[in-house]
Amino acid sequence: MNMARDKILDEIKTATSSNRQAFTYHISGISYADKTRTFIQGVEANGGSVFQTKDKTAIENFIHAERDAGKNIQYITSGQKLDCALETLYHIDTAVITGGIAVAENGAVWVSEKDMGHRLLPFTCKQLVLIVEEKNIVHNLHEAYAAINITDTNYGVFIAGPSKTADIEQSLVIGAHGPLNHFVFIINL
């Protein structure tokens, strides 16, 4: 198929030879008086919930409560690889994952493959719990991309809330194919 490659590139060259100068731009995105508050509002607008905590005890208590309730829970600690069968991954109730940069303007949290145990985990679990450090909250996506190097990981995803759809008559349904619930713990150490 290299014939196709050469042909396409040649045709592009012929079509575009006129204007090839370099291009730069700068945008300073919106900033908020209280970016933590805006982030919380963003997550809630997307159908998720947020808990703020001073220490990690609240998270541990939450995990204990889930276990006591008989939930199948996966708590991924730093760098841990989750090596289990597809079958198991598809039947996890709650996944607790540490996120990176969090974005105030849209409630999204960057989650890198290194921190999610397995790429499927944030998607197959019924309930996703993300842990975010308050100092990692930035105002907008421009700041987020300035802070993240997307090639630090083989796969990374901004997750802004629970999976959702409005494909049936534009009625919003929280919980499409991925998680039905979305929680974010903001830790202010």
């Binding site: 974005v103 995803v157 008559e169």
Partner: protein, 455 residues
């Protein structure tokens, strides 16, 4: 293939449904406005996005080569397809090589453009669309009527009937939550069993070799992370220079599409999981022809948000299927003639040229100007319908002969008064079919002007 006006007539026959369609899409447009107004830098974002795309298109070969180089280094396989046939053969060869018979597919307008589903079905491969709206239309054997909201032409009763027939849901249960949960169970089985996952590409980053896919349902990720093979299909215009450009485009995309601040998932795929394969197919399919045409090349900036659909008075009242093309609406009407002038000659005329599409476009494509330009091209090259040719020729002739024009005006006013049936004839006067004739004025404007203002 029936013309847009003909299909639209069938669509508007159900007035209640037409009104619902119109109002629902206008509601989505209103959400877009609300989201846009929350950002003081909105217009700067649009301007910048348009400029980034302009620059990328002007250097497209350089950025595609850079993307390819990085992606290869990341362990991603790159394939080039000159047309849709080549694209489909590449997909099939990859599936065949690994003995794959079941694939899941997340939303990709490009694979619709290539008619991939039908092609694979003929080869004995089961393709399951996993976006809920796309799954609904797939079960009904229909095409999506909107690129972001594929089943927007359907009511929940229709979905309920379709699901009852195919997924054995309760008959008559039209609850959206119930139906969505049933689809979740149904599709989770397909995800679990799939051997390969096909996706589209929202953005391909030249700097890093990454591809970015945006969904709300999580369906692209469930498919890709489960299957052994990921095949992503992109048009040559999907590449952007740097990762930081994603900040600009992701801020615009969801806000323009649905009024959300961002889609639930913005997934960045750099390289496959160990032991798995990731393929990217880069497709031309006449895009280089479009690029070579200065009047129409900037339509390649499109990021497929469908804001122009939601705002368009013609789209809202005629439905996506009236456009008989994969991408409907204003942007579809300027992309389609590039693919096939003859088959799509009616589409640039399916517009009021009001300009609302251009005003909401996040990458500032001059959509309504291009609709108007396509009309010139298509008429000049003889693709107009006979009534259009005759009426335009006739009008041109009369308007260029002032005396004849005045005489024709007098005759027309007399006819409207004394023989209205000649003009009020829905059979012969196409223009009258959806309109009422105004009351004939007693005199022409020229007569009125001479009487009142000439000295």
């Amino acid at each position: 293939m029936a013309e847009h006006s003909h299909n639209a007539a069938a669509f508007i026959a159900d007035e209640a449904r037409t009104n619902w369609h119109d109002e629902t899409l206008w509601m989505v447009r209103a959400k877009r406005d609300k989201a846009a107004l929350q950002l003081p830098e909105w217009e700067q974002l649009r301007q910048t996005a348009s400029a980034i795309k302009e620059h990328t298109l002007n250097n497209l070969d350089t950025y595609l080569i850079a993307f390819e180089k990085k992606a290869l280094a990341n362990g991603v396989h790159i394939h080039w397809a000159y047309n849709s046939e080549e694209h489909n053969s590449i997909v099939y060869a990859l599936l065949q090589k690994s003995g794959v018979t079941k694939v899941v597919k997340s939303k990709s307008m490009l694979t619709e453009e290539c008619n991939l589903n039908e092609y694979l079905l003929h080869k004995g491969i089961q393709v399951t669309d996993t976006d809920l709206g796309e799954r609904i239309v797939q079960l009904r054997n229909e095409a999506p009527s909107h690129i972001v909201l594929p089943a927007i032409h359907l009511k929940k009763e229709d979905v309920s009937d379709t699901f009852h027939q195919h997924l054995h849901t309760e008959k008559g249960n039209t609850d959206a939550l119930y139906l969505t949960r049933q689809a979740r169970v149904h599709l989770r089985n397909h995800f679990y069993e799939s051997e390969a996952a096909l996706t589209g590409v929202n953005f391909a980053v030249a700097e890093t070799g990454s591809i970015v896919v945006c969904t709300n349902e999580g369906n692209a990720d469930l498919g890709v992370h489960t299957a052994k093979i990921h095949i992503a299909s992109m048009g040559i215009e999907k590449v952007i220079p740097e990762a930081k450009d994603l900040g600009v485009f992701l801020r615009l995309l969801a806000r323009s599409a649905t009024g959300q601040a961002v889609t639930t998932y913005s997934s960045h795929f750099n390289s496959p999981m160990p032991g798995r394969e990731m393929h990217v197919i880069i497709l031309n399919n006449k895009r280089t022809e479009q690029l070579a045409n200065p009047d129409f090349s900037n339509s390649l900036k499109c990021i497929r948000c469908a804001a122009c659909f939601n705002t368009c008075p013609v789209y809202r009242r005629s439905g996506g299927h009236s456009y008989h093309t994969v991408i409907a609406g204003p942007i579809g009407s300027i992309l389609a003639p590039n693919l096939d002038k003859k088959a799509n000659a009616d589409l640039p005329f399916a517009s009021t040229l009001c300009g609302s599409c251009s005003n909401v476009c996040p990458v500032k494509i001059d959509i309504h100007i291009q609709l108007w330009k396509w009309r010139q091209v298509l008429m000049k090259e003889g693709y107009g319908t006979l009534p259009k040719k005759i009426s335009m020729k006739g009008m041109g002739w009369i308007l260029s002969h002032p005396r004849l024009y005045r005489f024709a005006g007098t005759v027309a006013r007399w006819m409207m008064r004394n023989m209205p049936f000649v003009i009020n004839n829905k059979r012969w006067n196409i223009w009258y079919r959806q309109r009422n004739m105004p009351a004939p004025p007693a005199q022409s404007f020229k007569q009125w002007h001479q009487k009142n203002h000439s000295k």
